[in-house]
């Protein structure tokens, strides 16, 4: 994916401008920055939900603004930050909705689509929940259901908007593990997060959106440093290492001090 000169405004207020980014196939790119820096907005522009005021987003050389909604949904999957369930659909029914971009207006999922939905559930490890109403599973499991739905779309790239924001520690770890496994399988993902610790879990690249509009890109280990974090968040932050309790290597952790 190539993003060139991306700029966005809400009315008169400029959110970001002049953003250039490359996203390579099979990588997990983390996008960091303080609240209000525009990372969610940028992600929604990349996904096509919002329209950039300037700049282009190209996926495999194709400008995504030239794609119709169905074509775009077949290439780009989006995992939203907030989801309020209304009806108690079964988990499998929800994940099957991910096949919508591949079906016409009057289309209905075929047995092949249902099989793909079950595969997606299996990939995130919750196939055993498939016949439960998705209103009756935990918040973390619901997050995984929606992730499975995005997988069922079979997109070229998945955009995750602060996937960990409403989860407790245990569910955060579950999500991180699922995302990590997908990354290891070569799924291309862009993930925004307000917590740099999430980005430290993955070996790939990170983008830090700093106040003032500058953007720093590089390997997560190079971008997430004391100096960069402190200047981005405006408070003293240190990256510390501590040995793992089981003796296998170190835990790397960011913390304000």
């Amino acid at each position: 994916m190539e993003i060139r000169g991306a700029a966005f405004r809400y009315g008169a207020r400029e959110i970001f401008s002049g953003i250039d980014l490359d996203v390579f196939r099979g990588e997990l790119l983390s996008v960091l920055g303080p609240n209000g820096c525009g990372k969610s907005t940028l992600l929604r522009c990349i996904g096509g939900a919002l329209t950039l005021h300037a700049g282009t987003v190209r996926l495999d050389k194709i400008d995504i603004s030239s794609l119709d909604p169905g074509a775009r949904a077949r290439r780009i999957g989006f995992l939203f930050q907030n989801h309020t369930p209304t009806f108690p659909f079964l988990v499998l029914e929800v994940v099957s909705m991910g096949r919508a971009p591949h079906l016409g207006l009057f289309g209905v999922p075929s047995s092949k689509d249902i099989a793909l939905a079950e595969q997606a559930l299996d990939r995130v490890g919750i196939l055993h929940l498939k016949d439960r109403p998705y209103t009756e599973v935990s918040g973390g499991e619901r997050q995984l259901v929606l992730l499975a739905r995005t997988l069922a779309q079979q997109p070229d790239v998945i955009l995750l908007d602060e996937p960990m924001s409403h989860l407790d520690l245990r569910n955060q770890v579950r999500s991180l593990k699922a995302i990590g496994e997908l990354a290891a399988q070569g799924v291309t993902m862009i993930m925004t997060t307000h917590d740099p610790n999430h980005a430290l879990q993955f070996p790939g690249r990170a983008v830090m959106m700093k106040p003032g509009g500058t953007v720093v890109t590089g390997l997560a280990s190079e971008v997430i440093t004391d100096a960069e974090l402190t200047s981005t968040y405006g408070i003293d932050i240190a990256v510390v290492r501590a040995p793992r309790p089981n003796g296998h290597g170190d835990i790397k952790l960011c913390s304000p001090w």
Partner: protein
Amino acid sequence: MTRPRCTVFLILLPPALLYASLFVGRFAVSPIDVARILFAQIFPIAHDWPKSVETIVLQIRLPRALMAMCVGAGLSISGAAYQGMFRNPLVSTDILGVTAASGFGAAVALLLSANALGLQLTAFAFGLAGVALTYRLARIYQTTPVLMLVLSGVVVAAFFSALLSGAKYVADPESRLPAITYWLLGSLNAASIKGLAMALPPIILGSLGLLLVRWKLNVLAMGDEEARSLGVETERLKGIVIVCTTLITAAAVSVCGMVGWVGLVIPHVGRMLVGPNHRLLLPATLSIGASYLLFIDDIARTATAGEIPLGILTAIIGAPFFAYLLRRTSATWH
């Protein structure tokens, strides 16, 4: 109830009730006679029943029963579609103002002494116009957000309600006003074959349209933004749902007046039986709605010497029933 048993029940219930409705009534007809009269339409059998009985069964009860089933089915599938589209199980078919506008149209027709068919047409036309007005009001920047639709519906319904009050005010209290009042209470006693022929096409067309898109409604029920991220053209889908439900509801109101609580309650019953998946829910509501309104209409015309207006019965039965449903399913909603 298991899925296959449920399906069989829902398929058999409407025809069974239809058959029962033909021999139930103040003028008793035996079930055997009804069966033979029906058969005689297709196979040659000797006609050994009085002509009056045949008239009652075929000209009076059959059109009325079919009308009740079509209105019940149509209002129910519309209610289910709206509840999915607005992501709110408390939505009814009146939300965009079609009932209020239709009611006013009927009042105008009655003031002008139109005949039954003219009345039907005027009510239907006003119903469509009311929703068109709501839709136009709710349009912002090429989209029609759900909140704007609801607010515009409130405005348009209130406006036509006010106009309706105006019509009642100027109506002659000896003849027109009672006619308007009685019509608004809802009744199927004017059901005729001609009326059925006029009301049937929009109801069938609308229901077919909704059935075709019923799976996509599941995706729409996830929210506009999520549905769009899944490639659904939400504005087009919403437009289809609104057009179909308005065709159905305007036709329904034009033949039987203001019959409420059907589009609101039946989808809940449907969800209790088959779940919220619209793929199953919408066909189920057709069957349940048809049976429900047919049953209520049978009560309406047989319970007392006079006829109880349908709208009163659906409210008296529907509201407490809805309260019961709310208590039972309160755990499911957030």
